[in-house]
Amino acid sequence: MRLELEKRPERSKVMAVASPIAAVFATLVTGAVIFAVSGVPPLKGLWIFFLEPFSSMWSIEELVVKATPLILIGCGLSLAYRANVWNIGAEGQLTAGALAGAIVPIFFNAWQSPLTLLAMLALGILGGMLWAAIPALLKVRAGANEILVSLMLVYVSQLLLDWLVRGPWRDPHGYNFPKSVSFEDWQTMPTIGDGRLNWGIVLALLAAVSLAVLLRRTMKGFEIRVLGEAPRAGRFAGFSSDRMVIFAFMVSGGLAGLAGVIELTSTVGQLQPNISPGYGFTAIIVAFLGRLDPIGVIVAALMLAVSYLGGEAAQVALGISDKTARVFQGVLLFWVLACDTLILYRIRFVPGLPRGEVAR
C-alpha cells in the first residue's frame, strides 16, 4: 500500500472551504485522544476546553479581547506569507510596539488628553515597523534570510524589554518590582460597556477589512498574489520583489506593533517582563487556519482565542496543565497544513510497492 498524489486540474473550491473545517475536526479528535491518555473523560474535556468559553457573557468578552491581537497580527502575516515573505518575528515586533507606545506614559506622565492615546497607538505602529525594518532591509540589501533574522530579533526585543523594566524604565515608587508606572485614564484603551471589552477589537476589525479590500480589489493586492505565487512572472510584469519585502514587513510589523500597544493599554496596563502569551507565534497558526485571508483570519483568531481560554478553564476544572493549549495549537497547524494538500491534490492509496522498487 502506498500513497500517491494526483494533481487536480484546478484548485478545488470545495476543499478550500472544507479543509480548515476538516483540520479543526481532526484536532478535536486528537484532543480527545490526548485527554483519554491523560486520564480525563474525552467528551468532558472537549466540552470544557472548547465549548465552555461560549457559555457566559464574561467569557465571550474575554474571547474577543484575546482574539484582538491575533486578528491584527494574523492579517498582517497573511499578507506577508501570500507575498512569500516569511516574517516569523511578529512576537518581537509586538514587543517593540509596546515599548514604543510606553514612551508616552513613562516620559510624559502628566499629559492627559485623547491625543495621548492616539500618540501611543501611533508610536506602537511605528515601533513595530522599525523593528520589522531590520529583517526587511537586511534581506533586501544583503540577502540575509528573513526567517532567521526576524526570529533572532524576538529574543533581542524581549531582552531589551527585560532590561528596560528592570532598569531605566522601572517605576521609581514601585518597591523594586520589574514594572513601569501604571497607565491611567487616557493612557489606557477605553472599554466598551463595563466589562473587559475594549475598542481594540474595532481597530482589529477595521484592519482586517481594509486588508481584505487591499488584497482583493487593488493593484497592490494583485501584485502581492503574483509575486507570491509566480515570482518570475511578477518580475516580468515589472513588480519589484525587494519593494514587496519591505512593504510586507512594514504592514505585518506595524500591525504587530499596534497589537502590542493595544495589549499594553488594555489588558496589561503597564510595562512588565511578560506582555504577551506568545500571540506573535499563535498568529502564525491563525494566518494559516484563516487561509491567509483577512476575513478568514477573524474566524481563525476567535478559534485560537478559545484554545487560550479553554486552556485556563481546563486547568481549573480538570486539573490538567495549561500547556495543553500550546499542544493543541501546534497539532491544529499540522492538521491545517495536511488538509491543505487536498486543495491541490487528490490522494490515492495504491496497493503495491513504492515506485522506486517497481521501476527496476
Partner: protein
C-alpha cells in the same frame, strides 16, 4: 599553574560544552538540507530531545539511556514533518514552524513534573595519560562522550557527503530531484532518511543541554539554539568542516558573555545575553553578502517539494 591560567582553562572547557549542542543540531540539519529539505523545526525537536533525555535519565538513572531517548524523541517528532512535507508536499517553511510550536508545547507539557528536579549529569571521560597533560589535557581529553561523538560525527558526515556513493545520491537529490528521480533513485526515500537523521541529531543536541551543559529541565531551555543551529548551516555554506568552526565560535560568544557578566563589568546582563542572537544576525549578513557571487554550495532544490511524475 597560576590562577589566571586555571580560569582560562575553565573558560575554554565550557566553550567546548556550549558549542557541542549547536554542532550536533546543526550537523543534522546540514544533512537534511543537503537532501533539499528545509526543516525549521530544529528548535522544537531539540527541546523535545532535551526533556526526553532528562526524563529518561532521571527515571532510569542512566545518562546514556537519556542520550538514546533524546535522539529517539527528536527523530519521532521529525516523523510528522516528513510525512507532511514529503508525502503530502506541504509547505516546508510552515510545517517546520508547526513542528517548533508543537515541540515547545509538548515539551512544556511532558516536562511539567520535572521542573526543579536535580538531573543526572553525563560524566566526563578522563582519557588515561592524555587528560593529565597540563593545561590542554582536561580541555581536550577530559570531556564527555558526546563532545567526541559530535566531532567524529562531523568528520563522518563530511566523508559521507563528499567521499561516498550515498553522499553523491544525497547531493543529487538535493541539487536536482527530477534528475535523481529519473536515474531511479527514490527522492522521497532519501529525504526521509535525511529528515530522520536531522531529527535524531537535533534531539541529541537538546539532550546534551539537559544532561551535560546544565543538567536540569527548564521550560524552553533551548532558548533559540535550534534557530542558531539553522543559521550555522547557512553560515557554514553546507560544509561540515566550517560548521565545526562556526559552532565553536558561537559557543565562545555565549560563554564570553557569561564571563564578562561575572566580572561585573558595567554592561547590562541582558545585552550580553542577547549577544549570540545579534552575532547570528551579523554573521548571516556577512555570509549572505559574500555568497551572492558564489551560490554553488546551496542545495539547488532546498525547500522545494517533489511530486514524482508518472
Amino acid at each position: 599553574m597560576n590562577l589566571e591560567l586555571v580560569a582560562l582553562q575553565a573558560v575554554l572547557a565550557t566553550i567546548v560544552t556550549a558549542s557541542t549542542p549547536l554542532l550536533l543540531a546543526a550537523l543534522g540539519e546540514l544533512v537534511t538540507e543537503r537532501s533539499g529539505v528545509l526543516n525549521l523545526g530544529v528548535e522544537g525537536m531539540m527541546v523535545l530531545g532535551a526533556v526526553a533525555g532528562f526524563a529518561v535519565a532521571l527515571v532510569t538513572g542512566s545518562p546514556y539511556l537519556g542520550i538514546l531517548a533524546s535522539a529517539l524523541a527528536g527523530a519521532a517528532l521529525a516523523v510528522p514533518f516528513g510525512f507532511l512535507t514529503l508525502n503530502l508536499v506541504a509547505n516546508q517553511v510552515a510545517t517546520g514552524l508547526a513542528l517548533t510550536l508543537l515541540g515547545l508545547g509538548l515539551s512544556g507539557l511532558v516536562g511539567e513534573h520535572f521542573v526543579g528536579q536535580p538531573g543526572v549529569r553525563l560524566d566526563k571521560l578522563h582519557l588515561p595519560l592524555l587528560s593529565d597533560i597540563p593545561f590542554v589535557g582536561p580541555i581536550l581529553f577530559g570531556q564527555d562522550i558526546l563532545v567526541y561523538a559530535s566531532l567524529i560525527l562531523a568528520f563522518l558526515v563530511y566523508r559521507m557527503i563528499f567521499h561516498s556513493r550515498l553522499g553523491l545520491i544525497l547531493r543529487a537529490v538535493g541539487d536536482n530531484h527530477a534528475s535523481a528521480h529519473a536515474l531511479g533513485y527514490s527522492v522521497i526515500g532519501v529525504r526521509w532518511g535525511a529528515v530522520l537523521f536531522g531529527g535524531a541529531l537535533a534531539g541529541l543536541g537538546g539532550g546534551y543541554l539537559s544532561l551535560a551543559y546544565t543538567p536540569q529541565w527548564i521550560e524552553n531551555m533551548t532558548a533559540g539554539r535550534g534557530w542558531i543551529a539553522l543559521a550555522l548551516v547557512v553560515f557554514s555554506s553546507w560544509l561540515p568542516g566550517r560548521l565545526i568552526g562556526g559552532a565553536y565560535l558561537f559557543g565562545a560568544v555565549t560563554i564570553l558573555g557569561f564571563y564578562v557578566q561575572g566580572m561585573g563589568v558595567g554592561v547590562p546582563a541582558q545585552l550580553l545575553s542577547s549577544l549570540p542572537y545579534i552575532v547570528t544576525i551579523a554573521a548571516l549578513v556577512v555570509i549572505s553578502k559574500r555568497r551572492g557571487a558564489a551560490r554553488a554550495d546551496t542545495p539547488a532544490c532546498l525547500g522545494q517539494s517533489f511530486v514524482p511524475d508518472r
